[in-house]
């Protein structure tokens, strides 16, 4: 077995080349980002209607609970893809 010493710059290029193989989920991030942003704009644009309806109590409780679930899926997916696009991923 023969060990070759190479420069650090060469090593970093090899690492970069390996990283490049993995495609970043830019499209998924944009897709979920757009849905999430639209949902937030709608919410903030109709504050009175939303707050009135969501606080009627009783069976209306389904609104805030399902909105929390819905936003966690949409915005959670965006956040996950956003972190991947930034290159922040869990250690394997």
């Amino acid at each position: 077995m023969k060990t070759i010493t190479i420069k650090d710059t060469q090593a970093s290029e090899v690492t970069k080349a390996r990283v490049k193989v993995k495609k970043k989920p830019v499209m998924a991030m944009l897709f979920f980002g757009c849905i999430s942003a639209t949902a937030y704009f709608y919410l903030m644009g109709h504050q009175k209607l939303v707050t009135d309806t969501f606080t009627k109590g009783g069976w209306y409780a389904a609104y805030p609970i399902s909105a929390a679930f819905l936003f966690s899926f949409i915005h959670g997916a965006f956040a996950s893809n956003f972190l991947s696009v930034l290159g922040i991923e869990a250690k394997k």
């Binding site: 060990t3 090593a11 939303v50 409780a61 909105a67 929390a68 915005h75 956040a79 250690k91």
Partner: protein, 444 residues
């Protein structure tokens, strides 16, 4: 495993039908929500239309109120002063504050750091969210409800991420959650008993003393352990107490595969009960749940903090339904905090894959001890309320309140800095290692 999960899930469902448990106390029952429609200066009365009702009720202002306190354009919460007479208003709060950009920015930032903390140590964030929302101008009940409703989806996303990293013990989480829900019920009953016996001031004092005592004692234990581990004076082994308890062969024995623990249910159940009881009392059950899972049950800090997210999800879901039924969730605040915390919680969760077990303990101990200072600053005020101390100077009271608030902000800020520091350090080390391994595989 499957049978246990089904059994526990069924139990949760049944419990949710017959009981009402909430972390952080139950929603208030004597609140009226709705709009003022007309004012009558002559007899100091107002017409009030309650939610889901078409006919207005006549309410009367109390002696301290003026007609300027009545807003016709905003939804309000009204409490009646039953001692002052029939339909006399005791207090009015505007339910939904205006949200200018500055407040939206503040909510997003608090959410981000709170989420980071939650994803990293399994709990936290909640202790600062409610006071922060109240400082921004939300009424107390709305702040508690909105915080609770953001907690469960955040915990769900965090738990899912950490499950993918192989850190979550679902069975342990379910057992803890079920027993904690029972603990919350007991905790609420104790709270009510204390409230009836000692009154509001006594109850506040009791809650604060328990809060400070528990956080200081447990925080110091965690800090000592983390210090030893960071100095390399000890190895990350199962704590002595947990080892001794694992030797107790009292059936039924429970086997937790991910946590790598086999322990009697008679040990697991009290930990869950204590978590729930404290959650009902001091509203930060995770500060007991995580150390309980580490030092009593014997799970690693990594597994305990990840599993706590399952507990937070189930308990948060349960509490949120109750608060939403009372109609007190300001969904705008919930979703704005969630926008920040969903990024933070995933960042915190993946951060755990870059750090060693004791780093989680360092962060947890720091947060617990600073939060204890925050509540400790309130104790002199409560002591003077019950008459154990002479009345405090108003300036001193204001000073203590500002110490309390800034301690919370410091806790959140320092946690954010610590987590980011260790995470970046871990990532840089990992990158170096990866570079090294590429070198070895490519050129050797």
């Amino acid at each position: 495993m499957k049978r246990t999960v089904i059994l526990i899930s069924t139990f949760i469902l049944i419990m949710s039908m017959v009981a009402s448990a909430f972390a952080g106390g139950p929603p208030p029952k004597d609140l009226l929500k709705g709009y003022f429609t007309e004012t009558n200066e002559a007899n100091r009365s107002v017409q009030f239309v309650k939610d889901n009702e078409l006919i207005a009720t006549t309410l009367f202002l109390n002696n301290e109120m003026s007609m300027q306190d009545i807003r016709l354009d905003k939804k309000v919460m009204v409490t009646l002063d039953k001692h002052a007479g029939e339909n006399v208003i005791g207090d009015i709060s505007i339910m939904f504050m205006d949200l200018p950009l500055k407040k939206i920015g503040a909510l997003l930032l608090i959410g981000l750091i709170g989420g980071l903390l939650s994803g990293f140590i399994g709990s936290g964030g909640a202790f600062v969210m409610t006071p922060a929302m109240m400082t921004l101008g939300a009424p107390g009940a709305i702040a508690v409800a909105s915080n609770m409703c953001h907690k469960f989806p955040k915990a769900m996303v965090g738990a899912y991420k950490r499950y993918k990293y192989g850190q979550v013990d679902i069975k342990l989480g379910l057992v803890m959650a079920v027993t904690a829900i029972i603990g919350v019920e007991i905790g609420i009953k104790m709270q009510k008993y204390i409230l009836n016996t000692w009154g509001n001031a006594g109850s506040n004092l009791y809650v604060s003393v328990v809060f400070v005592a528990v956080l200081v004692i447990v925080g110091l234990i965690v800090a000592r352990d983390a210090y030893k581990l960071s100095r390399g004076k000890a190895e990350a082994t199962t704590p002595k107490l947990a080892k001794a308890l694992m030797n107790l062969n009292i059936p039924p024995m429970m086997n937790f595969k991910v946590a790598k623990v086999r322990i009697s249910a008679w040990v697991t159940i009290p930990v869950g009960l204590a978590t729930g009881m404290l959650a009902a009392t001091i509203a930060v059950g995770g500060f007991i749940g995580v150390p309980g899972m580490i030092y009593v049950i014997g799970a690693s800090a990594m597994v305990a903090s990840a599993t706590e997210l399952v507990v937070a999800f189930i308990m948060g879901c349960y509490g949120s339904v109750q608060w939403a039924i009372s109609g007190l969730v300001d969904i705008r605040m919930t979703l704005l905090i969630l926008a920040g915390s969903l990024v933070g919680v995933q960042l915190g969760a993946l951060g755990t894959t870059y750090v060693k077990d004791h780093i989680i303990k360092i962060v947890m101990a720091s947060v617990m001890l600073i939060v204890a200072i925050s509540r400790g600053a309130k104790v002199p005020g409560y002591l003077s309320d019950v008459g154990a101390m002479k009345a405090l100077d108003p300036q001193f009271t204001a000073f203590l309140n500002s110490v309390s608030f800034w301690a919370l902000i410091t806790a959140l800020g320092s946690a954010g800095i610590l987590i980011s520091f260790y995470m970046v350090k871990g990532m840089m080390e990992a990158r170096r290692e990866e570079k090294q391994s590429v070198l070895e595989t490519t050129y050797v």
